[in-house]
Each structure stands twice: as structure tokens, then as C-alpha cells.
Symmetry: C2
Subunit: 214 residues, 2 copies
């Protein structure tokens, strides 16, 4: 009886260690969203408006209660696009390719913050609207991790790797960017097209399979 118990406990501990040491990465699916500057928040929601925190996200970011409507070249609207806080020094709209086609836009696939020459887009809030000359991108798929995790995975900031997805819609996503920072927790960020193509949802796991580091 005692031997059986020891066996079970040993197995549980072994499984836990193995899980912790595995190269599995949890997925976070990013729906379309908007980052705003103070100036643009004032125009869309009113002077000195303060965003209400709805849900904490990684690295001090949060999903706000507030949503906006976005409009592209076809003049049709996508409604209820979530605003993310805190405020940034550049306003940025992140949409999927599916959204882009529906809006008549052709945004580049970019890392967050890199909006030079990206697509124009109009953002409408309850108090006003702004028409940006640039600012709309499709987010480049990426993995956030801590410096500790980067050692464990044997990758470094800005590395480009590939990721394996299991399941009925499984496969491999190449050109995944590694982003290492003290304030990051381990998570692969993909958009809704990537999630739906590969049969993934937030909380599912993927694995690094190949390392294309230069």
C-alpha cells in the first residue's frame, strides 16, 4: 500500500517537473484593438477623459471598458473595437487581415509601435472622430517571455522561430518573433485569423520547433 502511494506521489512530482521544464507556450489570441494618445483620447471621449480598467493584461497594459468604431476606405464600420491602456505616444489600430479586407485596407504586418507608412484609418468615439494618415497594422505574431524563459528556450530578444500546433487544424507557423523583457510573462500572441486557421484559442499550448536565428 505504502509502495503504491510512493509511486503515485513520485509520478505526480515527475509530471509537474516535466511540465515546468517542457517547451510548451500558452497562446493568447488578440482581437482587434486600439491604442490611443492623450490627444486622441480627448477628441474621441472628451477633454481629460480617463479610461476605465476592465481587465489587467501583461506588462502593465489593460483592456479598457471603452470601445470605438473603426472605418476604412469602403466606409463600412467595425463596431465595438476595444481600447487598450495605458495611453501611448502614437495611436495604433491592430486588426486582422479578415478585418482589413472587409474595411478595404491593406495594412502591413508589423511589430507593435512600428506604424510608419502603415494604413490610414478613421476612429470614431462618443465625442468625436479622428482620421489617421497612418496607424493601422496587422500585428506580427510574437512570443513574450522573461529573460529567465529565454534561457530555458535558448532564444534571445528579436529571434525569429517557428512554432508547432497540434490538432485537427494543426501545422507550423514560421516567422514568429521573440520578445524578451523583465515585465513579460510567457505567452504567444496571435490574431484571430491565425487562431481560427490553426484551431487555437487562448490558453491552448504551442511548442517551439525550429530556430532560424541568424
Amino acid at each position: 500500500m505504502n509502495e503504491k502511494l510512493i509511486e503515485i506521489i513520485s509520478k505526480t512530482i515527475a509530471d509537474t517537473i516535466s511540465e515546468r521544464n517542457s517547451l510548451k507556450i500558452p497562446v493568447g489570441v488578440s482581437a482587434r484593438h486600439v491604442h490611443l494618445t492623450k490627444e486622441h483620447l480627448d477628441i474621441l471621449f472628451g477633454k481629460d477623459y480617463i479610461l476605465k480598467k476592465k481587465k489587467e493584461l501583461m506588462g502593465g497594459q489593460f483592456a479598457a471598458e471603452e470601445c470605438v468604431t473603426i472605418i476604412g476606405f469602403k466606409l463600412n464600420a467595425i463596431e465595438k473595437v476595444r481600447v487598450l491602456g495605458p495611453l501611448r505616444d502614437k495611436t495604433q489600430v491592430e486588426i486582422s487581415k479578415t478585418d482589413a479586407i472587409s474595411l478595404g485596407l491593406n495594412p502591413p504586418i508589423r511589430e507593435s509601435g512600428d506604424i510608419k507608412g502603415s494604413s490610414p484609418i478613421t476612429i470614431v468615439g462618443p465625442r468625436g472622430a479622428i482620421s489617421l494618415k497612418e496607424g493601422c497594422i496587422i500585428a506580427k505574431r510574437h512570443i513574450h517571455m522573461s529573460p529567465e524563459d529565454s534561457k530555458r528556450f535558448n532564444v534571445k530578444d528579436d529571434d525569429i522561430i517557428s512554432v508547432k500546433i497540434n490538432g485537427q487544424r494543426g501545422g507550423i507557423l514560421e516567422n514568429v518573433q521573440i520578445r524578451v523583457d523583465e515585465k513579460y510573462t510567457l505567452e504567444m500572441h496571435i490574431d484571430t485569423d491565425e487562431a481560427n486557421c490553426m484551431g487555437l484559442k487562448s490558453g491552448d499550448f504551442v511548442e517551439i520547433v525550429r530556430d532560424n536565428r541568424s
Copy 2:
């Protein structure tokens, strides 16, 4: 001068042969669409209505001029969903996972025609509406080819293979079904989620990379 000409001609011929013998497969992106029975066409468009051919598709199928509106559990609508002809013996609605989420449905990923136990959906036409208990699926990605092509690719009907996609959003799609028939021309059919995830559009090329035949 003659030597130069011979060189150019030889190279052109060699390139043509190499292209013809390559294992490249053109992509066709399927947008959401509906196949109807005679009975359902009558309800939606009127007694003995005849679909108008808009565009010929592979294997005797065609895109019709006619569109319908589809409605799921959330009671929101997706408009302008293309009807495909000719009529079938089962009504079937093919949507993307992105569409499914927006409609509040969870359809299975299935081969066309295999609708047993699939999602319920409502279809609305200019003369009436039908509420199906089953019939809504997400199409399983597949490659149509002739028996001749199947020899060239060394695959057979119903094989499951993997496909390599190049480019900024490149990667590998696994679980791709081979469908061989005399009336098929070579084409890989994917839905809009798969196209947008992998940066593909109709007419782009992919390659078979691995063969999981049992």
C-alpha cells in the same frame, strides 16, 4: 548571335518543363457560401426558381448571381452569402471559424457533403426563410486533382498530406485531404481564415512537403 538565341530558347524550354514538373499547387480561397436543394431554393427564391450562373467553377459547379443572408444563435446576420450551383440533395452552409464565432455557432470541420450532426443555421432569401437543424460546417482543407496529377504527386484519393507556404506569414498546414477525380483540376481549397493566416490569396502557390499516408 545564333548561339545566344539557342541558349535563350533552350533556357525557356527548360524553365517551362521544370514548371510543369514542379510540385507546386495553385490555391483557391473559398469565401462563405451555400449549396441548396430544389425544395429549399423554392422556399427561398420562389417556386421552380432557376439560379443564374455568374461564374463557372471546377467540376461543373458555378457561383450563382443569387445571395442569401445567414443567421445563427446570436441572431445577428451575415449578408450577401453566395449561392453555389448546381442544386444538391442536401442543403449545406460553409463558413469560416471567424464567421462561426460572430454567429455564435460551433460547426465541425468537415468534408463537403458530410453534414450529419453539424450546426443548425437559418438561411433567408427574398421569398422565405429556412431554419436547418443541421447543415453548417467549416470546410476541411483539401486539394483537388486529376488521376494524372495524383500520379505526379505520388498521392491517392483520401490521403492526408502537409503543405508548405512561403512568405512573411509562411508555415505548414497539416491534415490536408487529397481528393482525386477525373473532373477536378489541380487546386488547393482553403477558407478565408486559412488564407489570411498564411498570407495567401487565390492563384498563389503552395507545395506538398510531407506525406502521412497510412
